[in-house]
């Protein structure tokens, strides 16, 4: 009988190899169909009617001009909003559906909204607006800790609100046919996307069909159907025609989620030998109209004996925050790593030496020490490093910066049906989704590995809520959940097949294994039967087995685990005459347990580095204080890094028994946590002065240089 336990290093034929993602060709050639690509006969286009003001009241919404606008088939307004409060620009007030996208846009502009406008509050960088309830956490005695220190480094650091900026906006195409609702959304949560839509639309969940085969990014912002999704379904029902509603880019950036800002004043107590004694932080920021929390301070060095951290939120008239890839971690990493590195610089201690010296203050010193050493080697730390500001002469300065991070990543609950057909074909069905990360490929690898088949032999069906339920892809939980469920399902199906095959090979099922396309006797591999011949023994019956990932059980059995560590080092150049920061190189060393596909794992880290570099150098949601309008709700001044901006990226994944024995651990979030912190430290190391606030735009760099007396 086959054992479901992950195979040992020497026994793996597919797991851990470099395998290209299965849907790469579809994506590259454009044949992959995304929500926007779903075109059905009679399709209508819907557009949202949104608030033009950030604060105030709605006095009236008049639809008459929109109703008579050409091509319009349905107009809807949110009656509940009449007399209601406006809290941010872009708030949904209604929707129109028309024959063409242009007609829908035109009609939406003709919905006349009468406002009573009030002065909005969008400023988040000033602590005077922090009126939310204070959350306070402390350990030890902060005053004693600061007194114990030889040096106390003080600093202010911060990073602004940024958006998810998914290349594919939020939204869906929907159709009601024969009383059943069909939805093609862009979602991170196929199995439960339609939750809550049944009441609003009046079609039960059992008659609601969700289909998302490909999606262009979610990063934590696409777990639900949202008001616009429900509206789209309602309009489809009302008109009896399919309706497409995806957000325009400006609205996408304003209302479809953002990452909270974090600003703070810090004190770090440090002894002359580099030992950290105390960490004090007073932090504030905004999640727009959403809640606020910065839980992970101090970050990584959480065993600093004396700490006092207070945080307060600022309510602003901006769209609400949503989970953004590793919620609160990138912010806490930037704040902590900047404060710690500034303390090291103050006593003229090398940053690498400093982070190592204090490694016992972290929860996994051995992992971090190993990773720091590898990262330092890969970046050429010994040759390139220098103390802060003591680099080469000339106007362009080069520097290195370090950051450490951690994440959970325990696989989510997930189920998988594995079918072995009499013709030898194999199908895995899971109600999961592929965010572009390689979920399909991972499932095929696991099933192929288990059944001794090449991945081409496996049909993977995902992206529908009719398949066995799987969790939302959030928190780096998908790879653990789907790999375990598909491993359990395929092992169980294989064992059933082995029982059928055993009499034909004259041995017991226990003596058999499935390898290289055959089922064979373990001790006498020549006693074998081809896979397809074995499957033909099923007669007319398809063998179907379900695998269920129960988090606790799977963790106890070593299928999955949580809590990984990573180290990143950035190498930057700063032109001190222009303030432009250029990425030379970035190294990421990452632990994530047993790696199913080395190639997609590395790709995940590359993507995270690029996203992190973008947040370090470019991204910021900018709002006008007087009008509350987002000024850069476009991809022109909401800048993202391009290929020329990212420098040379190196990724090293931790492998070997120590890591692999832990089982599978998610990788989506961890590598995106450190880039900004490492880059900010590298800029400080290069030019000799801390640029306190991200993004590291030339104006901020020049300002910091001038204040530091350097420019």
């Amino acid at each position: 009988m086959a054992d479901a336990k992950w195979p040992k290093a020497g026994d793996r034929s597919l797991i851990g190899k470099r395998i290209s993602r299965l849907d790469g060709p579809e994506k590259v050639t454009g044949s992959a169909q995304y929500a926007y690509d779903v075109n059905l006969p009679g399709l209508l286009y819907a557009k949202l009617v949104t608030s033009a003001h950030a604060k105030g009241k709605i006095i009236a919404i008049d639809l008459s001009d929109a109703e008579s606008s050409s091509g319009v088939k349905a107009v809807w307004k949110d009656e509940g909003m009449v007399g209601g409060e406006i809290r941010y620009v872009g708030q949904v007030l209604g929707a129109v559906a028309a024959e063409t996208e242009e007609q829908a846009t035109e009609a939406a502009l003709k919905v006349n909204v009468d406002y009573e406008v009030q002065q909005p509050q969008v400023v988040d960088s000033d602590s005077q607006f922090a009126t939310g309830r204070e959350s306070k956490r402390e350990s030890g005695d902060i005053e004693a800790g600061l007194k114990e220190a030889d040096v106390v480094a003080e600093g202010k650091y911060g990073l602004p609100v940024i958006t998810h900026c998914c290349l594919e906006p939020h939204g869906q195409t929907a159709e009601v046919r024969d009383g059943e609702l069909y939805i093609w959304p862009s979602t991170q949560n196929v199995s439960r996307y339609a939750d809550g839509m049944d009441d609003a639309v009046g079609i039960p969940r059992s008659k609601t069909h969700v289909d998302c085969q490909y999606m262009g990014g979610g990063f934590g912002s696409k777990f639900g159907s949202d008001k616009w999704g429900t509206l789209c379904s309602q309009l489809a029902k009302e008109t009896g025609r399919p309706v497409k509603l995806l957000l325009d880019r400006n609205i996408e950036l304003m209302i479809a989620g953002n990452r909270p800002s974090a600003y703070g004043e810090f004190k770090v107590g440090i002894k002359n030998d580099g030992t950290i004694t105390a960490f004090q932080a007073n932090v504030w920021g905004t999640g727009g109209v959403g809640g606020y929390g910065m839980r992970w301070l101090p970050y990584i060095y959480e065993k600093i004996p004396h700490t006092l951290v207070t945080t307060r939120g600022i309510r602003t008239n901006r769209g609400g925050q949503r989970a953004w890839r590793a919620p609160a971690h990138p912010q806490c990493a930037l704040l902590t790593m900047s404060a710690l590195e500034d303390a090291a610089a103050k006593i003229k201690m090398d940053a690498l030496e400093f982070f190592r010296h204090n490694i016992q203050l972290t929860d996994k010193p051995d992992v971090y020490l190993e990773e720091l050493e590898i990262a330092a080697d890969l970046i050429g730390y010994k040759e390139k490093s220098h103390l802060r500001g003591e680099g080469t002469p000339g106007s362009v300065k080069r520097g290195l910066g370090i950051s450490l991070h951690r994440w959970g990543g325990l696989g989510h609950p997930s189920e998988c049906d594995l079918s072995i057909n009499p013709d030898g074909s194999v199908t895995a069905e899971i109600g999961t989704q592929d965010l572009g990360t390689g979920a399909r490929t991972v499932i095929a690898i696991v099933v192929g590995e288990t059944l001794g088949l090449p991945i081409e032999a496996i049909t993977v069906r995902i992206g529908r809520n009719s398949y066995p339920a799987s969790g939302a892809s959030g928190g780096s939980t998908t790879v653990g959940g789907t790999s375990t469920a598909s491993r359990l399902a395929s092992t169980s199906a294989l064992n059933e097949l082995l029982k059928i095959v055993a009499p034909h090979l004259g041995v017991s099922a226990d003596a058999l294994e499935a390898k290289q396309g055959v089922i064979r006797e373990i001790n006498q591999p020549t006693n074998a039967i081809q896979w397809t011949d074995a499957c033909s023994l099923l007669g007319t019956n398809t063998l179907v087995k379900r695998g269920v990932n129960d988090r606790n059980e799977s963790r106890a059995k070593g299928f999955i685990d949580s809590n990984v560590g990573g180290v990143q080092i950035a190498d930057v150049s700063v032109d001190t005459e222009t303030g432009i920061v250029t990425m030379n190189q970035m190294v990421a060393v990452q632990d994530c347990g047993l790696i199913i596909d080395m190639k997609t794992a590395e790709s995940q880290v590359f993507g995270a580095l690029i996203m992190g570099i973008t947040s370090a150098l470019y991204e910021e949601a900018l709002y006008d204080a007087e009008t509350g309008v987002m000024l850069n709700a476009d991809m022109e001044f909401y800048r993202l890094a391009g290929i020329k901006d990212i420098g040379n990226l190196k990724v090293h994944m931790m492998t070997g028994k120590k890591y692999e024995d832990r089982g599978v651990i998610g990788l989506g979030e961890p590598p995106v946590i450190s880039p900004a912190a490492a880059i900010s430290n590298a800029v400080a190391n290069a030019c000799g002065v801390r640029v306190p606030y991200l993004p590291l735009t030339p104006d901020r760099v020049l300002d910091a240089l001038e204040k530091g007396g350097i420019a």
């Binding site: 242009e102 846009t105 035109e106 502009l109 002469p393 000339g394 106007s395 362009v396 005459e577 222009t578 303030g579 432009i580 150098l617 470019y618 900018l622 006008d624 204080a625 007087e626 009008t627 309008v629 000024l631 850069n632 476009d634 022109e636 001044f637 800048r639 890094a641 391009g642 290929i643 020329k644 901006d645 735009t697 030339p698 104006d699 020049l702 300002d703 420019a711």
Partner: protein, 329 residues
Amino acid sequence: MKSFEYSAPNTIEEAIESLGNRWGETEIMAGGTDLVTSLKQRITAPQRVVSLKNISTLREIHESSDLIQIGAMTTLADLSNHSTIQKHFPSLVEAARSISSPQILNAGTLGGDLCQRPRCWYFRNGYGLLAQNGGKSLIPAGDNRYHAIFGNDGPAYFVSASSLGPPLIALGASVSVVGADGKSRQIALDDFFRIPKSESERETSLKPNEILTAIHIPLSGLNNSVYEIRHRHGLDWPYATAAVAFKLSGSKASDVRIVLGHVAPTPWLASKAGKSLEGAEVTMSSAAHCAQSATQGAKTLSGNAYKVPMVKTSVKRAILIAAGIQMKG
């Protein structure tokens, strides 16, 4: 975007006839890289769009011994690949290529670059060219990090978005404009750009029913260069640019013209800086001195003081590049 009538005439005369005499009624389309976005953003909602793409004479390039005449519909890609331009005007090649996007280089035109509307985010968010809300400019108290530090006495605070304007002015270029009467007139490019005084004006001296047809650049043997400071290495708007042109005799500079980009509502002629280099030997220190004088008269707003050191750096580096002096560091 609002529905409109589309016209693509074959001759300049027909095109002129198709144009209305009030701004906004009709719009001219060259490459469309700005216009199409503007239509989508509702910056303009004309009844008719007049495309110049079928007028082949507008894509011609003519050369004589002392002049090159470039049709306004010449694409930026064709401009930067033209051998005479490459030989004499590295500043134009650099300015065009700095736009970086192959799509824009292939579709965008020289005339379009000069006539494109500003990128001011208040303008693009529907507050009009002068960014006014209730009769008051939003810019002095608003987010003006990308706004003007020269020519910003108001009511205009935006910066000219043109990439080719500054180097062309430095080279002493002029433009041909055909008016409603069908007659062509020639204007120095420096005079072509205007700072609007009211919402009903635009950023050039073109009238609504006039067409920019050609750009003339004297072949006068000037050393020339442009230096852009921008954040992304790919497609991005510069924070500041400097274009310089001068005659170099031995190591001495004469006929110096220094023109700044992205710091004023028009390309900005830094005459004092030009004078400070006139007759001087071009060295690291004279370039730095000249660069310093290029910042004279700058009036910063609440969020754009950083543009002053950028002007200094871009002028200094542009001079050194034009003179072929290696920069250190």
